[in-house]
């Protein structure tokens, strides 16, 4: 690649940026409206995103089952609002996800994903397990090939998938999105899109903090998700919310266990947590008693209280480690053959799990029937991370007309997970496609942004003194971990901002080739996201407990009266502006 690299112009009615679960669903749905749809994907839609190598579960309100339990959609909402989000959630969007994901599961079935099993005792032959709510509400399914199935369905419908393009900028014209710019991650060409609507689905920011095992790629979630969507939206003047909440990448120290799909042994049968001498720390789980479905004695309220008590009784591992208690083990040794087989099946469909299981069996000669896996104290992910993302209205449109978002790109929905990706992707695809039908031609786009992207890339590729992307990334991660880690406070955060600004203003990158150029552009996204973390951390003058795990030493109490609000950040004429969005 060089500064005169070719520009590939592409016109499309709907441009979907990011082809993970949400992006594929958006593309598939948008294609139903007779408009031209393009998915621009940084990697390859066959293997990219959080479910790139599979996903084995998705939560939903499931009428044929939950109605028999006397559990209504409002009960799911209450369980999620209280138990998962602690009141800090966008209820309109929660309703969208809760009420529509069962239909999306039925759509996924049509695309060839298997949700039904002959040996199931559950109505509909589904496999349903408990996860987030007080009754079992998560489908377990054969999700390993889901990205292959979604890609094929999108292609069958005529969606144009362009792999290996990293989008870096949104284009807008008179307050309306008008296209996007990107760089080919292999061909080094510039991609200039004109579009009538854009659906942003680039996921989260997974490289904000140090991966403690020292293996760069050892993250539960894709390391190539670098918050590109948030930074391009920020530069386009779109508000981003709650970026102060993020999960440090601590949960994979020398271990895989959380990508195992059994965080704290809740999801799968027979999983217990035991101590150094086999003593039970968390008792084993069981399959739900499906034969007695419809004969439940508990009311929803009693169930909710029971769930809250279970969560409150959860062992405080970090404190226990400080007291010298531990190690702790994930222990399935009490399981029956049927339960072990089920657990292995489930793991083999969950992200990274298929290879993990192969590694366990073949590299370690591990056997669930007798061996245990050591759990690590900081191996937990914060649900609050999913509260961060773009601010959208109930139709998933941002303040920039024609710009929609879906999945992890959207803020305000703790633990929306794959359910959020399926439902929001679908909905955003529909809204975007419908909107483009009202618009006749493409809006004119200026050349300035392309010129500055060209210049930026040329500088990186020709720099003699610039730094390798990995060097810059480590420095930024050190700053995030140090100034915005477990303890945050005003002066520390101000110092962190100064240091990030210093890097942003004074460091130049050096790229030897297109591969490294893309990594440099990714680290540029990470820096912008780190600035957002630091700025909003400084602005939120309270502490907020787990699952947000936000502790301000100078404001140690949770302050719902003033701060049960989303904190929005936007760029206006180069300056950061903050506002509070009250939670309704």
């Amino acid at each position: 690649m060089n500064s005169d690299s070719e520009v590939i112009p592409i016109e499309t009615d709907v441009l979907v940026i990011g082809g993970g679960l949400a992006g594929c669903m958006a593309g598939i749905k948008a294609s139903e409206y007779g408009v031209k749809v393009t998915i621009a994907e940084k990697a390859n839609t066959l293997t990219s995103g959080c479910a790139g190598t599979g996903i084995d579960h998705t939560w939903a309100y499931i009428p044929p089952i939950h109605e028999k339990m006397g559990w209504c959609i409002e009960d799911l909402m209450e369980d999620h609002i209280q138990g998962i989000a602690h009141g800090f959630i966008n209820k309109e969007l929660l309703y969208l996800v809760a009420s529509e994901n069962y239909e999306r599961v039925l759509d996924l079935e049509k695309f060839g994903v298997n949700f039904r099993f002959d040996d199931s005792k559950v109505p509909g032959k589904f496999r349903i397990v408990p996860q987030f709510h007080s009754v079992p509400s998560s489908f377990n399914f054969d999700g390993r090939p889901i990205k292959v199935k979604l890609t094929k369905e999108a292609e069958r419908r005529g969606v144009n998938i362009i792999n290996r393009v990293m989008i870096t900028d949104l284009l807008s014209t008179d307050g309306h999105v008008s296209g996007a710019l990107g760089v080919g991650t292999r061909d080094g060409k510039f991609y200039s899109f004109k579009s009538k609507a854009v659906v942003l689905c680039t996921g989260r920011v997974n490289r904000l903090s140090r991966i403690v095992s020292g293996v760069w790629g050892n993250h539960r979630l894709p390391v190539y998700e670098t918050g590109d969507g948030r930074t391009m939206a920020l530069r386009a003047g779109v508000p981003i919310i709650n970026t102060e909440f993020f999960s440090p990448a601590l949960f994979m120290i020398g271990n895989y266990e959380i990508s195992f799909g059994v965080p704290r042994a809740e999801v799968q049968p027979a999983g217990s947590i035991t101590g150094p001498n086999g003593e039970i720390i968390v008792p084993r789980t069981y399959f739900y008693d499906w034969e007695n479905l419809g004969k439940e004695k508990w009311t929803s309220e009693v169930r909710r209280k029971w769930m809250a008590q279970r969560r409150a009784d959860r062992p405080p591992y970090p404190e226990m480690y400080k007291q010298g208690k531990g190690p702790f083990y994930l222990d399935l040794t009490g399981g029956t053959e049927e339960e072990i087989k089920y657990a292995e099946w489930s793991v083999s469909n969950e992200g990274d799990g298929f290879r993990f299981l192969d590694y366990l069996k073949n590299q370690e000669k591990f056997d669930f029937r007798k061996d245990k896996i050591e759990l690590l104290p900081n191996s937990r992910e914060m649900a609050g991370t999913a509260a961060s993302g773009l601010a959208v209205n109930k139709d998933l449109e941002t303040e920039l007309k024609g710009l929609f978002a879906a999945g992890d790109e959207v803020g305000g929905l703790p633990w929306q997970a794959s359910s959020g990706a399926f439902t929001m992707g679908w909905h955003a695809g529909e809204m975007a496609a419908k909107q483009t039908r009202e618009q006749k031609g493409f809006l004119p786009v200026g050349e300035e942004k392309l010129a500055s992207l060209r210049e930026l890339c040329a500088d990186m590729l020709s720099s003699k003194e610039g730094l390798h992307w990995g060097e810059v990334e480590l420095a930024v991660q050190n700053i995030v971990d140090y100034y915005a880690g477990d303890v945050r406070a005003e002066e520390m955060l101000k110092r962190g901002i100064e240091r990030l600004d210093d890097i942003k203003g004074n460091i130049s990158f050096r790229a030897e080739n297109t591969h490294e150029l893309v990594r440099c552009l990714e680290v540029r996204s990470v820096i912008d996201n780190a600035v957002m973390v630091m700025r909003t951390s400084l602005e939120r003058k309270e502490s907020r407990e787990v699952p947000f795990k936000f502790y301000r030493a100078d404001f140690p109490e949770q302050d719902d009266e003033n701060w049960l609000s989303f904190l929005a950040l936007k760029l206006e004429e180069g300056a950061f502006k903050f506002s509070k969005i009250p939670i309704k």
Partner: protein, 81 residues
């Protein structure tokens, strides 16, 4: 380079480059010699998701192996202890 995450069996791999096409982190590059296994160009950027191995058409015959590096290996309590 610290890690050696991916091994190809030269006897089995026919250089079809499916793994190169699918690696989401782009750590592989096609071999300049046609029909030969790809080059692990950026081993330290491997994310160990197994895409290359899962989608390899000759995976069953052992064309490709992904090896978990020592700092990522699970700490196991063996049942016979």
């Amino acid at each position: 380079m610290m890690f050696r995450p991916i091994f190809f069996n030269v006897e089995v791999c026919n250089g079809c480059n499916t793994c190169v096409d699918l690696c989401p982190v782009d750590v592989l590059a096609p071999n300049l010699e046609k029909g030969k296994p790809p080059i692990v160009a950026y081993p330290d950027e491997c994310s160990y998701d197994g895409s290359c191995w899962i989608h390899c058409p000759l995976s069953d015959k052992g064309a490709i192996k992904v090896v978990t590096p020592l700092p990522m290996r699970v700490a196991i309590l063996r049942g016979n202890r």
